[in-house]
Symmetry: C2
Subunit: 169 residues, 2 copies
Amino acid sequence: MGKLREPLRDIAECGLPAALEAVGERWSFMILRASFNGLHHFEEFLTELGIARNILSGRLVKLVEVGILQRTPSPDDRRKVIYQLTDKGLDLLPAMIALRQWGERWETGVPSNPVLCDERDRRPINPISIRAHDDREIDHHGLCWIDEGELNADRDQDNEQPVKNLGAM
Amino acid sequence: MGKLREPLRDIAECGLPAALEAVGERWSFMILRASFNGLHHFEEFLTELGIARNILSGRLVKLVEVGILQRTPSPDDRRKVIYQLTDKGLDLLPAMIALRQWGERWETGVPSNPVLCDERDRRPINPISIRAHDDREIDHHGLCWIDEGELNADRDQDNEQPVKNLGAM
DNA sequence: TTTTTAGGTTGCGAATCAGTACCTACCTAA
DNA sequence: TTAGGTAGGTACTGATTCGCAACCTAAAAA
């Protein structure tokens, strides 16, 4: 594995490049989708995804390395290996669903069948949205960046502070 | 542009492969992040991202093609071009923030500075989460797939239906 | 009128992707 | 106990894409 490629700029500064470093390669998200859907074995991913063996092999190694998947030899059949999502992997679900919903809204057009629902009430889930501290839905207009220092300083006060409007994400 | 590569399987069936087809390539998300942060010009992206000119050029063409960015010649300076997010592009924000938050939680560790806040109350936004129809937060345990047919059939009834637990995302 | 700037394109080597043919351990049926 | 199939990989090959640097053109700026 070459790995001479410079890591996406500013790994430390922002979580996005870091996330992309872990799951940004081609097929990674598709493998995770398959995992979320209960696939556990190499050959299952292979036939379900239509990915090449060597690529799948490499991706699985990577996803295990970064701690998104866990690799366990099957107790029943010593040929088999069980790949399953760790907590870290499961925590990608909101991002995956958000991306999927975007694809449905803007690309495929249809909210594909079957529909993702909550198990208790058996009704479709809401669109993933951005929420303020009080759970108010907000869009990009209602967002800004605040410095950690300023944050603590002006809590529970109403003095005006300079607002950097999305200046350094 | 070769484009002989088979599109990620089942484009029509699910929004995720469709979304990845649009923004799944290397650098696409970083360009969008920069766009969200108010960058508009080729040379700005170039220096801010540290991406190669030809790659940036290709990505911008692609993102414009799929309708995520809009390309407008600047009225002030006829050399300049303004790239800005369309509504379709802006609608990727929840997915981007979810991914970024994941990266902060699991990779960088720190909720990087400055902090993304709501403009009204100037407090950090909540983590992106999955919500049921009644806005209840749910995790992967509380999710299931329901067929469109079944969905309409059992609305406002409490008969038991077979639950496919994440069987075909 | 020369120089700079903005936004590209082109060419080329390096890295990655993808398809296929192996290979090895293991299970199963005869 | 052995032949044959299965599970999970590697190794080899060619196609595609990435990334760097050089170049190019139109339009400001000096």
